[in-house]
């Protein structure tokens, strides 16, 4: 315990099988992720698409629709202005909006905390496009982020969110136990563990790209026009499907 603390994964045979891999040099990220998926308790799986996580997905989609409707400059003004690069202001504003909603609806959770970070990274990746976060113009960020709503590809934006969410969720699972093995032959330095975490992140982001949510596109176009409580409620089935599909892909090897 302390000002900063971490907790190891549960002491179950399934999680022990995950930890066995950390005793080997260069464990394959797919195998690590696959064993973690096998180790997840039912309520942990449920938690992956809890109300807080869905609220973060909603905020990402709603933001794109709002930018498409109002333009980024006006949307940023409505979020309460932040000085600095527009993508930073956008990501910070949407992060704040999701956090506020989660707080006032008392939906906070561990996976919600990770999903707030996934929301932020989704905004940073989609709105900055090929340009740098600190240099992208308002017009370019508007075009890159708003196009998901303008071009009827909110399902694609949902996949972007899931890819960042899986990235952070699985790095969270690995980080809980990996530190115990640093200094061993398998992970002699902290850099070796960082490389392992990077490989897990890449594996998850790549795998999530195989999730297909296009059948939800028409519904998504309707949902983003609703009031927030309705949006979150109606996004739940998509989140369940997306997470389920993602876990299947990641468990099967990418």
């Amino acid at each position: 315990m302390g000002t900063s603390t971490s907790q190891r994964s549960p002491a179950t045979p399934e999680w022990d099988r995950v930890r066995e891999l950390y005793q080997q040099p260069h464990p394959a990220p797919g195998e690590v992720v696959g064993r973690i998926i096998q180790a997840l308790a039912p309520d942990t799986r449920q938690g992956l698409h809890d109300r807080a996580a869905v609220a973060c997905l909603d905020t990402l989609l709603w933001g794109s629709a709002a930018v498409a409707d109002q333009g980024l400059q006006q949307f940023l003004a409505s979020l309460a202005p932040v000085e600095g690069p527009p993508v930073i202001a956008l990501a910070a504003g949407l992060r704040d909006a999701a956090t506020d909603y989660i707080s006032t609806t008392r939906a906070a959770s561990r996976f919600g905390e990770l999903a707030i970070d996934a929301l932020s990274n989704s905004v940073l990746s989609t709105a900055a496009g090929e340009q740098g976060l600190l240099t992208v113009t308002t017009a370019q960020a508007d075009a890159d982020y708003g196009r998901y709503a303008r071009e009827g590809n909110l399902s694609g934006l949902s996949v972007q969110f899931l890819s960042h969410d899986f990235d952070r969720v699985f790095r969270y699972f690995v980080s809980r136990d990996l530190s115990d093995f640093i200094g061993s032959e398998a992970f002699p330095t902290v850099s070796s563990s960082s490389r392992m975490l990077d490989e897990v992140a890449l594996y998850c982001r790549r795998g999530a790209q195989q999730i297909d949510l296009s059948s939800y596109e028409d519904q998504l176009q309707e949902i983003v026009r609703l009031a927030i409580d309705d949006r979150v409620q109606r996004l739940q089935p998509l989140a369940v499907d997306g997470i389920t599909m993602g876990l299947e892909v990641l468990a099967g090897g990418v």
């Binding site: 315990m1 302390g2 000002t3 900063s4 603390t5 971490s6 907790q7 994964s9 549960p10 309520d43 942990t44 938690g47 309460a80 932040v82 600095g84 930073i88 202001a89 990501a91 910070a92 504003g93 992060r95 704040d96 956090t99 506020d100 989660i102 707080s103 006032t104 008392r106 939906a107 906070a108 959770s109 561990r110 996976f111 905390e113 990770l114 707030i116 970070d117 932020s120 990274n121 940073l124 990746s125 740098g132 976060l133 600190l134 952070r168 790095r171 969270y172 980080s175 809980r176 530190s179 115990d180 640093i182 200094g183 061993s184 002699p188 330095t189 902290v190 850099s191 563990s193 960082s194």
Partner: protein
């Protein structure tokens, strides 16, 4: 399932008639009646104030005390069970105010603790002025021009010293610890400031804690059953200082903490959310200041050290006026409350030891020499703390500003508080360089883990 906590003293009988189940709430809190299971002693603070506490100021202290005691009483679960659902039923003197700010207050507490809070406020049923409240005598706070929180730790000492060196006259407010080691550090710091700057500051100690010594005391968890994370305690500290400032008509309230702990980046993703404390995070402070504004108070809590590392506080603020021994008399250890010595393995101990050496002070003795000989501690929480700190150091030094924003999206929370994210990143880089330099110079095994030896 939500856990219900009721501040039972002051709850009007009409409420208990409507909600008889409240007497069977998970926990009942009381710090006024003979059945009290907590103590709330404000004697020194109140004696120093020019006028009695207003009803709203008393509400602030009661509500913060209830949150503090609830935070201690309710154990967190492990992993995904860390986040708690808490319902508090509280009698207040100014229910209109609390109803108006309930959502904002919930947001503040969620950001601070990571938990879900729900409040039900009722108008007090009886006079509930603090029964140990002295009649204010001389308005001694007339001689003070600001309030500064003092904990017995190094950073808050630096805050007080900064103010005194600048010619300010702070009213120093301290929440007394029940732990003898921390209390000794608190007493030492208080005497040190009084001796070094005679008649320049005013001191008020406050004691708020669980206390079940009374034979009729309501139940409260035994010490070993209490939650050790204490993520909510800075609400109490901010409240005590703001109430003191508001009552004395002062505007500046200082809660000093170094930039690394203030930015509160998780060292790894396993420390996400409130696993990493946000006790002085600017988003939390801003929300608290907004509450003060709505209360009609002109005081504002501020942390002057968001852009400074702990080593910089020692080198630039403390060392020019205090001896190494004086600085070493402060207490930083998170585990001191449990072990009565600085443990050497918690994050505050690691940061303190590194900061002392980086600032050129002598090394200190700890219960475990984790930095000198870490590998025998593999598999312990202490070892995890060290390697996670080293991992974080590597990340901060290796990545560009843009990559750090993606790795630590929590930095974005600073962007909406008026804090310069680029200056915070620069401070984090200086800190990471201090860690690397101290490992290279003093501790070969961690240096090898960092690949700098």
């Amino acid at each position: 399932m939500a856990v219900t906590v009721v501040q039972i003293e002051g709850l009007p009988p009409s409420v208990l008639a409507i909600r008889p189940g409240l007497v069977e709430a998970d926990w009942q809190l009381d710090w006024r009646s003979p059945r009290r299971n907590a103590v709330c002693t404000l004697t020194e603070l109140q004696a120093h104030l020019p006028i009695p506490l207003s009803p709203l100021a008393q509400d602030f202290i009661d509500v913060a005390t209830a949150v503090y005691l609830t935070d201690i009483a309710m154990r967190r679960g492990r992993n995904e069970g860390w986040v708690r659902d808490l319902e508090l039923v509280l009698p207040v003197r100014c229910p209109d105010f609390w109803h108006a700010v309930a959502d904002q207050f919930t947001r503040l507490l969620q950001r601070l603790t990571g938990d879900n809070f729900e409040f039900t406020f009722y108008r007090c049923g009886a006079d509930t002025t603090n029964n140990n409240s002295p009649t204010p005598t001389t308005a001694t706070t007339d001689s003070a021009d600001c309030v500064c929180l003092l904990s017995g730790g190094l950073d808050s000492l630096a805050g007080a010293v900064m103010l005194l060196r600048a010619g300010r006259r702070p009213h120093l407010v301290m929440h007394y610890s029940g732990n003898p080691t921390v209390r000794a550090a608190q007493d030492y710091v208080q005497q040190l400031l009084a001796k070094t700057w005679p008649d320049r500051s005013l001191f008020s100690g406050v004691h708020i804690a669980p206390d079940t010594h009374s034979p009729d005391a309501l139940l409260y968890p035994e010490p070993d059953e209490r939650e050790p994370s204490r993520r909510g305690r800075s609400l109490l500290y901010m409240t005590l200082s703001a109430v003191g400032a508001a009552t004395a008509g002062q505007e500046d309230v200082y809660m000093a903490e170094n930039g690394v702990l203030t930015a509160a980046l998780p060292l790894t993703l396993a420390r996400t959310g409130s696993l990493s404390t946000r006790s002085t995070h600017p988003a939390v402070i801003n929300l608290f200041n907004s509450l003060c504004e709505q209360a009609g108070w002109s005081c504002r809590v501020q942390n002057p050290f968001i852009y400074q590392t702990k080593a910089e506080l020692i080198r630039d603020i403390l060392r020019p006026v205090l001896s190494p021994l004086d600085i070493q008399k402060t207490a930083s250890c998170w585990m001191t409350g449990r072990a009565n010595r600085q443990c050497g393995g918690c994050i505050p101990c690691l940061l303190r030891r590194i900061a002392m050496l980086a600032a050129g002070l002598p090394d200190e003795a700890y219960m475990m020499d984790l930095l000198g000989d870490p590998l025998p501690h593999a598999g312990t929480d202490a070892f995890t703390n060290l390697v996670d700190l080293l991992n974080h150091t590597t990340t901060i030094l290796a990545k560009s500003d843009e990559e750090l924003l993606r790795e630590y999206p929590r930095l974005l929370d600073l962007a909406r508080t008026g804090v310069s994210v680029s200056e915070v990143i620069a401070m984090l880089r200086r800190h990471a360089a201090e860690v690397e330099q101290v490992m290279t110079t003093h501790f070969p095994t961690p240096a090898r883990l960092l690949e700098v030896l």
